[in-house]
Symmetry: C2
Subunit: 249 residues, 2 copies
């Protein structure tokens, strides 16, 4: 069920950090970085482990270094909706808030660069570079949330699936900068269940729509977690957005 956890590299220097230029610390200069360095530690969570429970006291505040975590809300009768996806460089926890409004769950094995909450909050309030970066990141998250609302409220099941694949493909391309020779090829980092929570569908509908896209030749499944997209434009059309797409992620 699990692999050996990554060794928590408690001595990695910020300068060597893979998310140095995208995380909260992106706008920091060396002196500020040194202060962060002094209050940080690395912590890993296994796939499926809950990092923060909705309604509980938050004790994790920091940046996702590797892995994928999900944010979700649950209704009393068990219906669940994912409301955010945290990727490397994304920030977990809201400074200045004691309890969390949603569950944060590790989808993968997740490593977090964690800060000591009161110290971090004090530093933020004295460091405009941190505050500005946090603002920019939050505005980007808000845009993503609103794009997602359009998907939830108005797209068909097929469009939802295609949109999700586009998002994952984009992210993957940005990360690996693979050339687009004969199409794209990427891994789905989410289970069918996680996809259904993301898209506001049932697991069966997710599965059916993936099969339908396969039947239409829009995607080719290598196995249930690896997708090949021969014609990216065709996938974009299925997503229903304007073909130029705009800024889904």
């Amino acid at each position: 069920m699990k692999h050996a956890p990554l060794i928590a590299q408690n001595h990695m220097r910020c300068a060597d950090c893979p998310i140095r230029h995208k995380a909260v610390c992106a706008y920091c200069e060396p002196p500020e970085l040194a202060k962060l360095d002094a209050m940080k530690s690395y912590r890993t969570f296994q796939a499926g482990e809950t990092i923060v429970w909705a309604g509980e006291e938050v004790d994790v505040l920091g940046s996702v270094v590797s892995g994928v975590a999900t944010l979700s809300r649950t209704l009393p009768d068990g219906r669940r909706q994912m409301v955010g996806l945290l990727l490397p460089s994304d920030f977990v926890g809201r400074p200045g808030r004691r309890t969390a409004p949603y569950d944060v769950v590790a989808a993968n094995e997740v490593m977090i660069c964690q800060f000591i909450k009161p110290k971090f909050e004090t530093l933020v309030s004295k460091t405009p570079a941190l505050e500005r970066r946090l603002l920019d990141m939050t505005l980007d998250e808000l845009d993503a949330a609103r794009e997602w609302m359009l998907l939830l409220g108005r797209k068909t099941a097929r469009e939802k699936i295609a949109s999700l694949l586009v998002i994952i493909a984009r992210r993957d391309a940005a990360l690996n900068s693979t050339t687009v020779g004969d199409g794209l090829r990427f891994a789905l980092p989410l289970t069918r269940e996680a996809m259904s929570d993301y898209l506001g569908l049932t697991i069966e509908t997710v599965s059916r729509q993936i099969s339908a896209l396969k039947k239409s030749g829009i995607i080719v499944l290598e196995d249930s977690r690896h997708v090949h997209v021969p014609d990216y434009g065709a996938l974009l059309d299925e997503a229903g957005d304007d073909s130029d797409g705009g800024f889904i992620s």
Copy 2:
């Protein structure tokens, strides 16, 4: 179709402003406020008027002083989803961005305290109080957006309507602090169409579910825009959230 517009009070002092303590300027001290005062002007928009067009150059940046505006995204085939509701003190426009990602439309007559964009951006980057306030406001908007995602993705039509009524009732109660003698009574500030855009439904479904809630005795309609809720708890139950409700708005 329209009333005489409010006189644009170009000489209102910030100290007298009704949203002084809730808007971007909330954390500002008098010297900073003076700088804002020097670059602001008031501008009004009629009900139905588009304040910002999605994809176009933004020329409005400022705070809603009075009235209600909606943010919405539209798919190429015309499907529309509201993604935000701007109330007095909310901020319009993202500093540092040239084009807008969504339409901003006045639902009512709206008055905006508008800033000159480049000047405002410069001031923000030199004024931590502004930046911090903008961050807090954006985080609140993000929470609201995520609550909304739960509604869009997982609630039934009836629950969506009940939730919307709860949100409006809360806001109204907060504004007018009416006592809850024999229930609540409030006006719907949105047309059926706006509600359907908000909730990801059709106008017919909105109408039918309102009728159904009426038939169940959960609400009493005085006319199509005025609602009486005899038992607020019963309405909360219909909304599907935990009975204590949490923090929908």
